[in-house]
């Protein structure tokens, strides 16, 4: 009995306690870790990954998967640069174009899965390839920056407008001057929105029902196809928001950026399974998962761990989190049901 309670406690709070422990440890040994600036830096480093992770969480909830988020983000990055630098459109149009593109890709993903019965991993893998290729075609594989020469012999004269760059570079004042960057605010906002949507609305509840037993959900009258398509559209939109913020931070359409986005985002969402012993995709967990990786990397960097160890660390965290989720929770499941 004692053991059972301990196990339940460990599953529920283990990850959060680990997180608190890490923060305390780094605060003690790395000077400058426990400062607002450092906190803002951590948040900034995870904001874009986190936004993508929240989107992929929605697809995980309906027992799907979206491998195309990284490619959607880089496509949004290239599209916004193309719109402003080459087509010389205003920032607002560029943003709308990107959001529309994200929603459209999500719609196609969803239709491929729901109507054409392509398994989710394959459909979104195909979409990923397609987008990675597509975003290179208009510029013949080059990055986009003001002053680049165009195929016709002209020079691209458009610029990233100040309003657009604001999205990536402005910092709001909070206690300290210019502390909180816009992407962090967007991340937190989206986190709260998706959290409320998944946990507290009937639509979220039905999406969880679909993820748990799709047939049963359909037989109680749920429009399963519509919710699945919606999940992929949310995922596509959030990925495009991530891409816009990345473009605004970089200030150029860099073809090589965003390589790690997919894996980092998926890792964050999967680490989220372990938070509060949820053992299922959840928005709060995803946000914590992203933060966990950010804090660990920031702390290790301040302790002079070399940059090339980062992926190793992320991988280790992911594996530990998965063991938490699947092994310990399964054990708990076995002891409560006869």
């Amino acid at each position: 009995m004692q053991n059972d309670r301990l196990l339940t406690f460990a599953i529920r709070y283990g990850f959060l306690i680990l997180l608190a422990g890490l923060v305390l440890y780094f605060s003690a040994v790395a000077s400058g870790f426990a400062t607002p600036r450092s906190a803002a830096f951590i948040l900034q480093s995870v904001a874009i990954t986190g936004i993508l992770a929240l989107g992929v969480t929605c697809t995980l909830v309906v027992d799907g998967f979206d491998l195309s988020i990284g490619a959607v983000a880089t496509s949004a990055l290239m599209l916004s640069a193309y719109a402003m630098v080459i087509l010389e459109l205003p920032a607002s149009i560029a943003v709308l174009l990107c959001l529309g593109m994200g929603a459209f890709v999500g719609l196609i993903n969803g239709l491929l899965i729901v109507k054409f019965r392509v398994p989710d991993l394959l459909a979104t893998l195909g979409m990923m390839f397609l987008l990675i290729g597509l975003q290179r075609i208009p510029t013949q594989g080059n990055s986009i920056a003001t002053g680049m020469s165009l195929p016709g012999g002209n020079v691209a004269e458009g610029t990233f407008s100040a309003a657009f760059l604001w999205l990536g570079r402005h910092r709001f004042d909070l206690f300290l001057e210019k502390l909180v960057p816009v992407p962090v605010v967007v991340f937190l906002l989206i986190a709260v929105l998706i959290w409320v949507f998944l946990e507290f609305t009937r639509h979220g509840r039905l999406m969880y029902a679909i993820g748990s037993n799709e047939r049963a959900a359909a037989l109680v009258g749920t429009n399963v196809s519509r919710y699945k398509v919606a999940a992929y559209m949310i995922s596509g939109m959030t990925a495009s928001i991530g891409g816009i913020l990345l473009a605004a931070r970089l200030g150029r359409g860099d073809i090589a950026s965003g390589n790690n986005l997919l894996l980092d985002a998926v890792a964050a969402a999967l680490i989220g399974f372990a938070v509060l012993g949820a053992a299922r995709p959840n928005a709060f967990g995803t946000a914590i998962g992203a933060l966990f990786v950010g804090i660990l990397l920031q702390g290790l960097t301040m302790l002079n761990a070399p940059y090339y160890t980062q992926d190793f660390v992320k991988g280790a965290v992911l594996v530990v989190a998965l063991v938490f989720t699947f092994y310990l929770s399964a054990k708990r499941g076995a002891s409560t049901t006869s």
């Binding site: 009995m1 059972d4 507290f200 609305t201 009937r202 639509h203 509840r205 039905l206 969880y208 029902a209 993820g211 748990s212 037993n213 047939r215 049963a216 959900a217 359909a218 037989l219 109680v220 009258g221 749920t222 429009n223 299922r280 499941g333 002891s335 409560t336 049901t337 006869s338």
Partner: protein
């Protein structure tokens, strides 16, 4: 052990097992002899499954002893139990077969894992071997058929055939007929007779009295983790066995059939399949109509048609006089037609949800404002239903998986009683449900029957007799009989259900 007692094939002595605070098995003594079929009865939660799981190596006992042919037997795993000759066919069929492989591979799978099996598969030899096994079981299908393409019944037979390929000393069958039609079940019984003659000790777990009457040599009743009675003097005392299992006398359900009042649902010239005959059916307010028929008789199809999952082949439906042609479950629910589906594990239970969420899932809209769910409303409505229908649980936030089958089924049915409806369809509501829970459900359905019409689709005649005002018999897509549930001519009813050819 006194020498007067002969050595049993399997001897279970003083078995105890606890899960947490739950004392599931309290000193079980049970013995199986070679060439004997022992029927194990028990309400859900009596400890039958746990007992089986201990015998087949899934669980370790806390105390007590098992002996196989007089030697100590303590299986460390399911594989170990099989190696000792104790083979179990579990209730869920797909545990017993590999659906994506063909019949031949399924039947010979165990030889692939046995030592010295060689690296390459000898297809011809494998097929011959499989054919021999299939023939001995009376299976006639082509062994090259993919198992997933077979009917449920055939898959069940394959699962049993696989078990038989291991030449067991003890064979445990956990509700093997729950998805079989009467003819298919009869095939299984013939096989069981054959195995009994070969000297296999068989433990047969079932809720179905008809099965038990047909094959049991001895009945063991379990209740609350103990053996409540052993019945082995011929003729077997079936009523006594049921009493021992329930702990009280099995009260006959008294039904005073109500004549239909206002018609609610009317089917006109309805054809279930393009080639099946048309029929009419009217269901009235306050009436409970049972639709019975074998597997493949079209009763599940009829339920699906009314619930909008299948289009009608021909004919019309009207609901309260208005034309009714649902094209999806969502549409049907909106029109006030609710259906509790059969096979709750596949079609109804949402395993990740607790009781309250499982119950309220069809009507989340009613429990939310501007899409935001009101947990309080959900919980309150759930608590009311839990009280009314008698779900045994700690609280409405228990995981659905912690409930016994009967209680899960109560939740699944309660789900559709949360909101008033015009037509309530219950497809196989008593599947895998013990008699106690079955009575609770039946009583509740009858007591709430006013204001809607209820159609219950069931395979067993006694289930229909327990709940219905009127009984409709389907056979191969045709309506072949209609009876008011008082002084029914049972012989006629049985003939209609099982008649091979539909009288033209």
């Amino acid at each position: 052990m006194p020498h007067t007692r002969q050595i049993k094939t399997l001897d279970v002595m003083g078995l105890n097992k606890t899960f947490g605070q739950n004392h599931v098995l309290r000193g079980i003594d049970l013995s199986l002899e070679a060439g004997e079929v022992v029927a194990l009865m028990g309400a859900n939660g009596a400890g039958k499954s746990t007992l089986v799981k201990v015998i087949c190596g899934h669980h370790n006992a806390d105390s007590g002893q098992l002996q196989l042919d007089g030697r100590d037997y303590a299986p460390s795993s399911a594989a170990d139990a099989i190696a000792h000759g104790v083979v179990t066919v579990h209730q869920s069929i797909d545990d017993g077969v590999i659906p994506d492989l063909d019949v031949a591979t399924n039947l010979t799978l165990d030889h692939l894992t046995s030592p010295g099996a060689g690296v390459f598969i000898k297809r011809r030899a494998m097929r011959d071997k499989a054919r021999a096994v299939a023939q001995s079981m009376g299976l006639t299908m082509d062994v090259r058929t993919i198992v997933a393409d077979l009917s449920v019944a055939d898959r069940q037979m394959i699962a049993i055939a696989r078990a038989m390929a291991r030449t067991p000393k003890v064979l445990i069958l956990d509700e093997p007929t729950s998805s079989l039609s009467a003819t298919e079940a009869e095939r299984l019984f013939t096989l069981i007779d054959k195995l009994r003659d070969q000297g296999v000790a068989i433990l047969y777990i079932s809720h179905r009295m008809s099965d038990i009457r047909r094959i049991a040599d001895r009945i063991v009743s379990m209740r609350d983790g103990k053996i409540a009675g052993i019945f082995d003097t011929k003729p077997l005392d079936y009523e006594g066995a049921v009493m021992a299992m329930l702990g009280h006398r099995m009260t006959e359900v008294d039904i005073d059939p109500q004549p239909g009042k206002t018609p609610i649902l009317r089917l006109k010239n309805l054809q279930l399949r393009a080639d099946s005959p048309a029929f009419d059916l009217t269901a009235h307010d306050g009436e409970v109509v049972a639709v019975i028929g074998l597997l493949g008789s079209g009763k599940s199809r009829l339920a699906d048609v009314i619930y909008g999952l299948h289009p009608v082949a021909a004919g019309d439906m009207t609901l309260d006089g208005d034309s009714y042609a649902p094209n999806s479950a969502g549409h049907a629910v909106k029109a006030g037609v609710h259906m509790s589906s059969k096979d709750r594990a596949t079609n109804a239970v949402i395993p990740d949800f607790d009781i309250a969420n499982n119950m309220t899932v069809p009507f989340l809209g009613a429990f939310s404002r501007a899409s935001l769910l009101s947990k309080r409303k959900q919980r309150r409505a759930t608590d009311e239903m839990i009280d009314q229908i008698g779900v045994v649980c700690q609280s409405n936030s228990d995981g659905i998986g912690t409930l016994s089958g009967g209680n899960q089924q109560k939740v699944m049915i309660a789900r559709w009683l949360l909101k008033p409806c015009r037509v309530l369809l219950l497809d196989e509501p008593f599947q895998g449900v013990d008699i106690g829970a079955r009575r609770d459900i039946g009583r509740h359905i009858r007591s709430t029957a006013q204001g809607r019409t209820t159609l219950v689709f069931c395979a067993e005649i006694d289930e229909a007799l327990e709940i219905a005002d009127r009984i409709i018999v389907l056979n191969e897509g045709a309506l072949v009989g209609e009876h008011i549930n008082s002084e029914i001519d049972l012989t006629e009813l049985v003939t209609q259900v099982s008649a091979a050819k539909v009288p033209a």
